[in-house]
Symmetry: D2
Subunit: 380 residues, 4 copies
């Protein structure tokens, strides 16, 4: 790794491959990074797809074998944007090769896989991060700032939802591009690893560790055509999952995710109730933060809708002018900008693999509780 450049090798050219590439291209236009990101190589399974993606996004070269990409000396950092079932193998190889690793969430299919990955990056001493991008939505970062300032006081309640509706139709297949998230072998789990993992990451970042959980899971559609086999096969993932929990700080948590909530495309919401103040946020209007402060004078007290677009709000001095929204993609720009800035300074910037592994352990406990119906302590 040069002092001045971070030469990136991207593995996977799906939705996340595009989101990350966009971040790499935009970050230097808007942020002072201390290091120049270079789109060095992209890897896809087919030669044509890799080359086309490289051309469209300005990668200097392309590969069809991720091992070849990792083997290249002119790659400083590996970005893992493949389905979950290959995260571990790629990460272990990249760590062994001494590469910086940026891995798409969830870290792995299971806590066991995740632990191997954590061990590998720690052993190799390579910088690492997992793309839990929602921490860097400015409204969410502002929530963190308000909580850390102590404005909420003692926290009583944390609740989060991640509601979608795209798998209600029974003819959505499992397996294959776009739908591998319904295939337990590829994804590890359903909404728990895909969606609740986001909620859990944000929750522990904002409100500390989750100690114990009790869950209910459901698979509404029991069989789906598998894209690989072409046959109808049992569905192994959780279509929906809700869980109760207790945080180490004494607050009560309630989480829910489903892909069967008609009317919600990607409704990630959270709300935190503290002694003095409360906060809520909603991904469908991600540029707003709702804030209620009980210390306001009683006759003018109410939920405030903060339009998070002013220059003194997190990240917003880098963009446009007050009143003008940024969107989903900018959370990736922010995460990359923070990560690479840290890298240039030799500082660790979360979420690291270790941070993501704690989320993995909560997910594991949730899935276990969903099976046996009892409360589970989250492994340390």
């Amino acid at each position: 790794m040069s002092d001045k450049q971070l030469r990136i090798g991207l593995i996977g050219t799906g939705f996340m491959g595009r989101a990350h590439s966009n971040a790499y291209r935009k970050a230097p236009n808007f942020f002072e990074l201390g290091m120049e990101p270079v789109l060095q190589a992209v890897c896809a399974r087919s030669d044509g797809a890799a080359a086309a993606f490289a051309k469209k996004w300005g990668f200097a070269s392309s590969e069809t074998d991720w091992k070849a990409l990792i083997a290249r000396d002119d790659i400083d950092a590996v970005d893992i944007c493949t389905p979950n079932d290959s995260h571990k193998e790629i990460a272990l190889a990249a760590a062994a090769a001494g590469k910086v690793i940026m891995c798409e969430k969830p870290l792995a299919r299971t806590a066991a896989e995740g632990q191997e990955m954590v061990d590998a990056v720690e052993k190799a001493g390579v910088a690492n991060t997992v793309w839990y991008n929602y921490r860097r939505v400015p409204a969410v970062t502002l929530a963190k700032q308000l909580i850390d300032d102590g404005r909420l006081g003692r926290i009583y309640h944390y609740r989060a939802q991640f509601l979608q509706d795209w798998t209600i139709a029974t003819d959505v297949p499992q397996g294959g591009a776009g739908t591998w998230r319904l295939d337990a072998a590829a994804a590890g789990s359903g909404v728990t690893g895909d969606l609740l993992a986001h909620c859990i990451d944000t929750a522990m970042w904002l409100n500390g560790k989750i100690g114990t959980v009790s869950a209910m899971t459901e698979t509404f559609v029991k069989e789906r055509m598998h894209s690989d086999s072409g046959k109808v096969e049992p569905v192994g993932i959780d279509d929906a999952c809700a869980f109760l929990c207790r945080f180490d700080n004494g607050s009560m948590g309630i989480f829910e995710s489903t892909r069967y909530a008609r009317g919600h495309k990607a409704l990630y919401t959270f709300e935190i109730n503290g002694e003095h103040a409360s906060i809520r946020w909603d991904l469908h209007d991600l540029h707003r933060l709702e804030y209620f402060d009980h210390r306001d004078e009683s006759i003018t007290r109410g939920w405030r809708s903060i339009h998070v677009t002013d220059g003194d709000m997190p990240y917003m001095d880098k963009w446009w002018v007050p009143g003008l929204q940024i969107g989903y993609e900018h959370s990736f720009v922010h995460q990359f900008a923070d990560f690479v800035t840290g890298l240039a300074k030799g500082e660790t910037v979360g979420p690291t693999f270790q941070d993501a592994q704690v989320t993995q352990q909560v997910c594991e406990s949730v899935l276990a509780s969903g099976k046996d119906g009892s409360w589970h302590d989250v492994a340390e």
Copy 2:
């Protein structure tokens, strides 16, 4: 008028007759009035209708001739709930008979009629009020309180709308019960007297006098069946009216009303922008007041949605508990409670005929400007 009772004679049994009767019945259950309202007599054109209404609402007696009602010694107060074309005649008779007068808005069809009415009550020295009920929606009263406290600072802008959509269909007749508001002879004007009069009353109560206006009016449906004649006749009212104005305090005003705004049933909204703070309100969610205070710390500044249901907010200590809404009808209860309480104490409580006459003059200027396209000063 006894010291202890206010014996009411109601003329008109339509929508407003019901709204006022409800107020008379409820006020003593929730307020300390200092005087007992008695539902003494109700007057409708037909004997059956009058008797049925009296039975349903608990009036002690009924009449079919309003002159007979006014002539009765056992009536202290006359409530005028008839179409606009009879307001003046009834009010003049009631004043001559020394009755307290409560008149439905608008005061009259024209400023000239209104002036006669003002002169009559002043000459007779009788207590009088006009039912501009929206002043007594708690959120609106709270707005008044915040403005009078000086929280907004210098006012720059006032805007108000009253949007409906019930006359888009061309087969809505003019004239007759429910639709006399489309008949220029009965109503005097269209949306100006019916809807903008409300907006103007609130505006001058909150923001002071309107000095000069420039308006645009339109009659979209030029002919409608007349219920009286059974024939298609030209429509004489304004279907829509918008006007610009300047208030005496230097602020700019913009008002609009129509019955052709698809999707709005009774959307009365206003917004006031001051140097330090702004306020907005919406009749469709009348229990909320939106408030923005620029003096809030910048990172948590936003429009506050105040749920106006707490005991320290106007009128709300009389009702239920925080979080539980009251509705439209309660504005009439409040107006009556305030009026009769004032009566018991010998105090004048607005809006009086004189207050309503100022609104009448603004309407007159608006309609004149709508005709000739020039700016009109509002008569003093």
Copy 3:
């Protein structure tokens, strides 16, 4: 009971005593009841309070001993508005005396008490109802109508919250007027019986029986001054309760209630996700129903905010005109109007004691699960 009159004896003159009295007075003004409600007697512990309440609300007489009230021949119906610990005793006596019984919710402190009450009214053959008033908020009734019409299709998810924030201050006492809800002896339970009982009643009315539950409960403030003893005593109620459940129709449920959710005064919300459509509602804006229909054309599909004020919506033809809200109190008017109309026709109108007892059993299972952490089947 005369054919024409229902002579009511009200026991308890607190918040609910007022809400019910208001309903008795208003119902005949707005509804055709088939029977005239007569405010015959009111009972409070002190003579002065009873007489003052009778005067304010128009009751013909007052009592200080509820047994005396029940013993009167001129009382047809007894309304129980006392704290929960006297519901059973009063109901048993009223049933034995052959009175119609209208009991405030929850039915009782425990399922065992509730069962005795059900048995008593069934044995006596007296008409009975429990004031789960939220069923009669027009938007909620409309939700019921849409579900019963089959518009949602198969139901996947039901979620409800009832969030308040009034007991966060540690100096709120337990016991006594207004705060007996914090005293386990008087109330039976905390938020479960007080708030979740509403959510459960609505849920089972809309979505059928709840079969099994898993709960988490918490008492955040462990000791409070007791108004009776004047001493600091352990708090026996649940301050917060969340539970997961499965309905008999296969849908997943998630419920939460607390009095520690800063910013929420009485935020009762529910949302139902079906195969084709979803519905949500919020007590803080009770006159609106949110509806999403996936069968709408894709480019104009969105959550619809239905302003439930039109004449073809439940109950709304009785009130004002489109666009004009009614409020919280009207739900009681509707429940009473429905109940007394049924009485006049000899028809049973829910929720009956038996209906309320099913809710009682769910609450019992929830509290048991909150204690032992395991899933509990709801008793049949």
Copy 4:
């Protein structure tokens, strides 16, 4: 101009210089353009600023004299991002040099200037566009589609606002970077040319020509420090402007803009009421379109909040997945993608200079009416 490349020379490196550069860089990653945009040169007054901007945004070269830039053979297109007072001179030179011209809005300070510019591009036969970017916010484009499909039926009302609050402080200077918009010499007018021009452009695009206007203008702060002279000088711009108008299709219009509306950063809203349906939109939540269709069944009729993020909505198939927002900057990407795609095909894509000149004429009439208080016909 090569068949394959559009070599762009950008003049001006302020807010708009950044917004356009971002669009040039992003468009090819997300759209098939038919022509490759090349960031060939950027021009700023100072050498350092130009070079720094070029480095940050990837321009191949920099200039400090816009005439030099226009003179270069390796520039195909000139992008004018300077204050309004230089638009005409630069555009005339660029047209004479045969360059494609992309000019920031408003076209010019006055209609007279604008006409010279239109004449110049028509005479030169060069492709041209003006950055009225809000047409390309997907929700606004969707509104256009719904209107053109005839879903609204006859249009009765159009209303628009553009409210800001950034010049309330009297110490905001006039003149200079960021504040030249307060200097009449540089800007031509105040909110009329800066903000209402956007509203007018959108309005005529959606609803056809505006025929006649009546306006009210105000300058609340009469004197401000001038950044050039360092002296307090009279303010020549309009701080606020409201106008009434009639469209050629018979609908009534009402427009308002101000920089003194506390609480609004950039609240551009519009609403259109048609016979069958209505539409409204708000820049503060630009990813939503509100739609009301009266043809919906009455009991489920309501304003629909359309989350404009699905693949079948304008432009959205190019971005992420349903539920994930894009922001302000994307409107420029869309405008540029449409423009350059048209260029590649030899098709004219609006808004052209001629389109923008019609807006200029409306502004001219509005300002004239604001001065003399009479209705003005808009020049053809």
